[in-house]
Amino acid sequence: MSVATHETSMGLDHRKLAMWIFLASEFLFFGAFVSAYLLYLDTTNRGPGVEIFDIPFTSVSSFVLLMSSLTMVLAHNSHVRGDMRGMRLWILATAGQGMVFLGGQVYEFTVFFREGLDLTQSPFASSFFFLTGFHGAHVFIGVLILLGLYSLSLTGKVKVGQDVKTEMVGLYWHFVDIIWVIIFTVVYLIPELRVGG
Amino acid sequence: MTVRDATPGRRPTTGRRARRTALAAALALVLAACSGEQNALDPAGPYAQAPHDLIIWVFGIAVVVFVLVQGLILFTTWRFRRREGDDAIPAQTHGNTKLEVLWTVIPALILAAISVPTVQLIFEQMDEPEAEYLTVEVIGHRWWFEYYYPDYDIYTANEMAIPVGVPVRLEMTATDLARAADLGVIHSFWIPRLAGKQDLVPGHTTYLNLQADEPGRYLGQCAEYCGLSHANMRARVVALDAGDFEAWVADQTTPADVPAEGTLEARGRELFGDLGARQACASCHAVWEGDGPRGPGQGPDLTNLFSREEFAGAIHDLTPDMLRAWLANPNELKPMQYDVNGIGMPNLNLTDEELDALVAYLMTLD
């Protein structure tokens, strides 16, 4: 597919290889936030704790993010087939879902603020906002990249046959999604078991 | 400025010390002979002695390895140096599996041998002492140590009195959070001749055992960087014979005298409690006069101030002149940050008259 393949010692595209290397290191980044969150789960400093979560609401936004992975892979699929119109459409759909997710997060944070959970309330609050906030920052950067990819494909900078570019964006986007798969379970659902039980 | 306790002379040789290897004796000669009172190589109690004995043994191994490796390097570089005009190409050896296994296995065995007593001693050192022990609570402030004796309800600062031959278990934390005016940070309590150091971490309680075999004054200081005046945060342990210790306890549990009306001291006591618009001494420093329960203040407890030899984080000798200089401008004698974030002692802009009265009053607190 890529001209690059025959020139490198492992037969891999530089950019894909680099992206995977980068993603490997991201686990250490998010892992530290998750550890802090788990350590401080009960350290609420007389403020709100995990009972504040709105599971149905978060479930919906999690679902939206999960489905954005589908549209992302469909965008790549279209690009591979040379269907640039389809690719652009799916890219926009992906970015749109990303924005819906971000909107949900902004709404969620606003509600929490009103209920007395803010960054300065407790170690629990700080670690919750940090973990979800830094994930949100990743989604935000992802949306920017998606929109960049969209506009570059309009100007002809991204062409048929250069689907590695879409694939790269996709790798990042899916990664952000699988991190949320973990966050949704570890941050929201599992602690909620204790509240329910 | 600080005058040390002038008795650093030779200490009696204990049986354990006599059993040291020749190597350790040589080392001790070099290092301990000219030591100060803060010397980790001159242990004066079991909790310092045991790690010392272990490290001397490890040090011996290290010296042997050092001599062998450096000798090998020197020999190799000398033996295989290229001579002038020798352009022959040496044999291109790539390795030797037997040798390589050898220098993997032997170090591993040596390290395994070191790790066994190490692990044993870790637990021994941290466990509660087996014999009956005295508990002292240690609280690290910026920049002084506070001691509280729960058995006797005694508060004191900088100098900790302990009985000789009795294990002491320190329960330590950094600044009591209820009075966190100095925004508790990590400190480390370290009296090298009695025990290794242990950090004082805000929000945690840590423990340290120590014991002095001989009466004396043991020096130490904060060993975890704690900001501006970290260097000026010293600690002292004063080990006393049983009788002296009892007398000390009796002294510390006696309330401070109230000076007679009309004297300079009484004027000082008045100022201590009320300096008008300026912050009063009593808002930070407690002087217990027997009325109600004792409690800690933001600053050191002054009930028995003159029972101590040093002050200001134990960096200055406690003399009336030094005290007067301190009250006139504390920052000159010890850098502090009262103006920045309220840590340490403020300059109260005291007049000469006020200084005289306050010093006179403080001198009654012994």
Partner: protein, 636 residues
Amino acid sequence: MAMTTTPTTGAPTPRFRPSSREGILSWIGTTDHKRIGIMYFWTVLVFFAFGGTQSGLIRAQLAQAEQSLITAEIYNQMFTMHGITMVFLVVMPFAAAFFNYLLPLMIGARDVAFPRLNAFSYWFYLFGGVFLYSSFLLGGAPNGSWVGYAPLSANAVSNMAFYAVGLQILGVSSLASAINFITTILNMRAPGMTFMRMPIMVWMTLVTSFLLLFAVPIIAVALFMLQFDAVFGAQFFQPASGGDPLLYQHLFWLFGHPEVYIMILPAMGVVSEVMPVFSRKPLFGYAAMAFAGAAIGFIGFGVWAHHMFTSAIGPVPRAAFSVATMFIAVPTGIKIFNWVFTMWGGKIRFTTAMLFSVGFVSMFTIGGLSGVMHAVVPHNAQQHDTYFVVAHFHYVLFGGALFGFISGVYYWFPKVTGKLMDEKLGKLHFWTWLLGFNLTFGPMHLSGLLGQPRRTAVLPEELGGTVELYNLLSSLGFVVLFGSALVFLYNLIRSLRRGEVSGDDPWDARTLEWMTATPPKPHNFDEIPTITARDEFWHRKYAEDEQHVPVPVPAGASVDTDEHAGHGEHIHMPDASVWPFIHTMGVLPLGYGLVYANWWLIGAGVVWMVAGFFGWIIEPLAEGDDDEPATALAAH
């Protein structure tokens, strides 16, 4: 070092690209790994002078008991900045200088995988350093020690916000380099260059890059937390609301211990290149060397809590981390013996480079042995945070890393400049350096055991006359080192101006980088060599006769240096680009915004960087290219 001025002919360049290969703009826009390596080197020297000056002030203050040449506040800033500078602005980028210059040459590539990202890493490093040092003009430099323990550093009054943001910037630089180098090593080796044929220097680059890859994100999190605690009122390390200062220590040392190996492994790589050449023998136990390096990296991640033996952790973790720590000495020992046996049976030429390498092995052994002493936890409580520890890590980082790197400077200087460094001055440099180093740091072992804690602005008189004497010796040692450093600097500049011309292969070297022109052309190799052996160049120069005795191959038979000049014209190299520089500048407003909680600055920085990044990605790697980097780098 000297500029390479070979012009590349190519398509006419558009306005935005610096087309000249001289002048300041050519350096700002360069994407040539060799020029970036050279920029790293000179920047490192500047920061080394700063860090050295700070240590001079420290040594002056401690030369006598109870001195107050500088205030406690200034002293605290000095030792903090000394640590930060030497670790993050000197030793780490020094390694980066070597990696940048040598990696593509050693594996037979034309450049790194991402030349512009490489420039980005350099500019991030430079701006990170500038940012940190600007704190001196903006109310005071960081003063909470290089470890920046919370809650002391998580306090709005401390100057540690600059520390948190500055290190974050440097971390981005390191992470980008790590990804770049790993990709380069995996993907861009010359035909036949298998993993087991790579020079050990390349192995160490790989291991170091992996350590960075997994360690940098951890400190990034710790620094974000610290920064938000200090500036935005977060509660991560605030004990009053239940925050735990130990979390910071864990995160810091989860990074900090691998960091130790990040600093030492590159120097081990250098020594592993120098020793075989000057012993005229291959490296002894190549495979063991490579895997010991990897093992050090791997175990190095599992011993972090040994920096916390006196902290609030219980006996079980103390015991576990003690044992783990001891066993890291095993792979280190393997390396030391392998170096010695590389020399064994050889014909050792004592050039300055070789002397520094032997000095490395010798001094590093001392640091290693005191390291084992630290692992004995009960006595660690006596050594921790005293000058004994200061002595230990200077024997590792100065006696180790710096000796190794300086050896590398003497060794590769002719490769970079085409000129030899002066050997007489070099030997003067070596012996004064060795003397000054031991005089400075040797006595610290003793003063530490005699009770002198580190990070104290005064040397208390009560520690006794012996400790005072040792401190005086240390301070005198600094003077010797200072003079020695001047000799080095003079030698560098003098040799650069009128050093003896070296020729392509002055040392009778063994590895690929000596096979090409000296200094190398922008495209490194006229023709990418095919690798058939470890020490490829040596095997092209020498063959074995019937008795397995190596004999020189007749000259010109297979040495491929410059014969095919003119061949290079159709080699397609990446063009210069100013976008990494422009993009990176945005980090300054962003950084100041984060320190001063100024949302306008933060916004401006983000917009700047996004715009710069956009300019970067729409610009083709080389003119007329369809921005497929691999195509651009291909030979035909």
